[in-house]
Symmetry: C2
Subunit: 321 residues, 2 copies
């Protein structure tokens, strides 16, 4: 039987999602596992393997050529090793690719999660057909990936594309990375929620208190988008500020790299023009007309599937080169 | 006779400089012409041609294979045309390459001046041997160029590399490009002088007043570097602020592109650690360790010759591909 299918895996902060991906980038046979509470690399890998095994059973193991995994962390090109992962301090020099290959008995290719999402959008999503692309994903952090001449730019030792850690406010909010004023400290879903909570703590009234059932800890970016959509001033202010600073970074990227397309993804983009409006306004204000004139700024099209599809595609590309 | 020499030309804001460049990147037979007061493209081209003719006479016209010209302005790849030049509003869609070829009767290749300087430094200067480089030149503006995998990144329509127009202060000083808070509004030689003049206007005392003979209009970046070197507090404050914001941009570039080397050029770098100290401090504070760990930050080595040598090299490269 022809091995015409690949398993794509998206290893997130709380769940591992996997699915069968065919040669056209179509997804079938999904599975997922919670990894909440899994602290060690071994525990996470156990659940990842279980998730992949479930997926393979559903499509028939004989048809699976291999597995592509999108994971947080820095992976020097060709190493198959997660050197470190900012949000998973236990992962240091973890040879994830070979560990998974042994456990699964199949070829495996691993890729940084932000790069995987960009590869997915570039293959069959909002960036298909474009050569020079920047992908920004607003999630727990701000994921970034740069594709130039149809290839991911990984940098000199694999650490490139950290768009979330461009400085946007000189001495601004402290970022998880330890530096002040990073884009991530304003425009991640986490940071958007934090900024709303801070305004409530300062005594601002908002429908958010009600939506969160009186517990500010429950406020998340989706809730803020909903409140903003309903005209809530506090929520609108937070969204506007975050989107404006995202626009500042997008403008710098436009002047610097002159891409054809910037794709913005993550659950927050459901807020639509509340995000894209200020981003476009900043580009109009800050970017060179010649660069801005050809630039398209679009929402990601594959949603949460971008990482799975891109991880599978990454596997296919490493197999054919 | 073998045509083994190339004329490199650096077209600046006030002068045109040209020289003979051999296959090893060595310079001989220099000439220059003032272009102060030349308003039209025709006048500038006349003086450029005169300058090149003088250079060719000195080395023997028969030995010249062609002419490489570094010029301000945006040149879409392969077009030979300056689409626009921010500081020379008269230059719009100027087919400089073919105009010069006709006038000189020799093959000509034109290149953006910041790219030419980077190509020069990459060929025989401070960046020789490195694959992934960013060059920043602090002059009238802040010139920027990105070299990845040994090639200049020009962007999707030739407008890439505008490092001077990354935002470093959210609502900062107004830049010549019309946007607030660009790096160029703080770290160009022009901006450094302006910021010193502003402090003097605000009543600050400084040895600069004396150095400038009582005419603040005469203050330039070299004078500020000298005053800072002599311990002048006002001059030191300006240099520190400019260098710190340069460091902010360098940090963002490090996180984004993960280069091996950042080369900083322009007359201002004579200030040495007054510039490089704050830049390195910001990188230590803001850049990811994995990226910062391999990064070298060095002064440009070719000085004002980088543009001439790089323009000549650009000609050689276009002839062999």
């Amino acid at each position: 039987m022809k091995r015409d299918l690949v398993i794509g895996v998206d290893l997130g902060g709380t769940n591992v999602n996997s699915a069968v991906v065919d040669e056209g980038g179509r997804i079938t046979h999904r599975a997922w596992q919670s990894i909440s509470g899994s602290r060690t690399a071994g525990e996470v890998i156990d659940r990842l393997v279980a998730c992949v095994e479930t997926t393979m059973e559903s499509c028939g193991r004989d048809r699976v050529a291999g597995v592509g995994v999108g994971t947080p962390g820095l992976i020097p090109e060709g190493s198959g090793t997660v050197v470190y992962a900012p949000n998973v301090p236990e992962w240091v020099d973890l040879p994830l690719q070979s560990l998974l290959r042994e456990r699964l008995g199949l070829p495996v290719a691993i890729e940084n999660d932000a790069n995987a999402a960009a590869i997915g959008e570039h293959w069959v999503g909002g960036a298909a057909g474009y050569a020079n692309i920047i992908c920004i994903t607003l999630g727990t952090g701000v994921g970034g990936a740069i594709i130039m001449n149809h290839e991911v730019w990984r940098g000199s030792n694999g650490a490139g594309g950290e768009i979330g850690h461009m400085t946007v406010v000189e001495n601004g909010r402290m970022c998880g990375c330890g530096a002040p004023g990073c884009l991530e400290a304003y425009a991640s879903a986490t940071a958007i929620a934090e900024q709303a909570r801070e305004l409530l703590r300062d005594g601002r009234t908002s429908v958010l208190s009600e939506l969160a059932g009186g517990d500010p800890g429950r406020i998340d970016a989706a809730m803020i988008a909903e409140a903003a959509d309903r005209g809530d001033e506090t929520a609108r202010e937070v969204m506007h500020r975050s989107a404006t600073l995202l626009g500042t970074a997008v403008s710098s990227l436009t002047n610097l790299l002159n891409p054809e397309l910037i794709v913005i993804g993550g659950g927050v983009i459901k807020a639509g023009d509340l995000i894209f409006g200020p981003v476009r306004a900043e580009v109009a204000r800050r970017a060179y007309k010649w660069s801005a004139g050809i630039l398209e700024i679009v929402p990601a099209r594959l949603g949460d599937d971008a990482g799975i599809i891109g991880a599978a595609r990454h596997f296919m590309l490493t197999r054919t080169t």
